[in-house]
């Protein structure tokens, strides 16, 4: 068994959370609240040392870089709702960040996703092996039929209906794949914890 106190703390907290599987209980709730408290504190400290001090405050205090006052003042407006009279000021940081972020969403989704993904769908249907021709055809067909499924302006009847139906089949296979992978992820996390208990704490492996 491990002798360091740290490993014991970690192991006991791990077991406290697993006690939830039996039923909800005070031990679990204690662990849960420690987690929220510790993570929030961690965020604050890291943000300060990594970013807020060297990028915002230090240039202002040490180098007299007054332009940094702008993001600081706008950022402080996030606290405006505490004073009802000026609570509307919070809209300034909200709209500023939304403006910049949404503009970049428009640009980058087109440059980084729509265009390259369209290009990647222009697949060759000749001059490659038969398996590839079939696979490429299925990809093109799958993309088109999925798009047809999400076309809301026409009733899904006739040819459109057939495409939509096939679109949903493609999606179901894709969701099945995601499902398998998600299961894998959750199990991996469990393995990680049990490995910790057996290896670092109990020293069995």
């Amino acid at each position: 068994m491990a002798t360091e106190i740290g490993v014991w703390i970690a192991a006991l907290l791990t077991l406290a959370i697993y006690s939830f599987l039996y039923k909800d209980n005070p031990l679990y709730k204690v662990a849960e609240n420690i987690f929220v408290g510790v993570s929030a504190g961690y965020w604050a400290v890291v943000l300060w040392y990594n970013y807020a001090w060297p990028n915002l405050f230090e240039p202002l205090v040490a180098q007299g870089n007054l332009i940094n006052l702008i993001p600081i003042i706008v950022g402080l407006m996030m606290f405006a709702p505490l004073i009802p009279k000026i609570s509307w000021l919070i809209r300034i940081p909200l709209t500023f960040t939304m403006g910049v972020a949404m503009a970049l969403v428009i640009l980058q989704r087109i440059q980084g996703e729509i265009f390259p993904q369209l290009q990647a769908t222009f697949l060759p249907l000749s001059g490659v092996s038969l398996v590839e021709v079939i696979s490429n055809f299925l990809i093109i067909f799958g993309v088109v039929s999925t798009l047809v499924y999400f076309y809301f302006s026409k009733a899904h009847k006739g040819v459109l209906g057939v495409f939509a139906k096939l679109g949903i089949w493609f999606m179901m296979v894709a969701f099945g794949a995601s499902f398998g992978y998600t299961v894998m992820a959750r199990i991996s996390l469990l393995i990680g914890r049990i490995y910790f208990l057996l290896h670092n704490w109990l020293r069995l492996i």
């Binding site: 709730k29 709702p81 300034i92």
Partner: protein, 207 residues
Amino acid sequence: MKQTLPLIIVFAFGFFVIIAFFIPLGAFQSASQTFETWYTGVLAFFVFIGIFNIVKVNANKIQRRLSDWQYSIILLLFLILMMGAGFIGGPEGGLFNYLFEHMQIPLGATMFSLLAFFVASAAFRAFRARTPEATLLLIAAVIVMIGRVPIGYYIWRGFPGVVEWIMNVPNTAAKRGILFGADLGLISMALRVLLGIERSYMGRGGE
């Protein structure tokens, strides 16, 4: 003022960033850089306000003796402990890292691993082939689940190849179709925000 100024801000900054994307002139690029830096600065305050809200909600809970208020004391205690350790000892201070390594990591890692058990019980109870669509989903899921782990390879050497094909062909096709649809949705929402038609995000601040 309360309505118009925010709408002018969102419109002006948004369209400036879009236009600057197409204009390589130095002035436009450095202005973009400045706005993006400000954005990051303002966003840092979002985190601070998040922490502030956690404190407010829990202090309120303790003060009004709402149900389970005792746990809020624990939460605040550890929040203060972590911040104290970090701000007094520095981010590389012993206690700060100790708390991170021996409390935050195991707690965070264990929290989500609980889901492994729920996946298992759901696999038994809820994942049923009630419709043709659900059947297709389950078959694909079972192939991936077996084919992606070493036992699949052990049972049949061709398994990983089948899984890769599923991932590369039907999965890619459907995910790409979904992606195009989602991108259009996002762009249309972004446009509505920039034009001030969509304002619900402002509600976070109250009236």
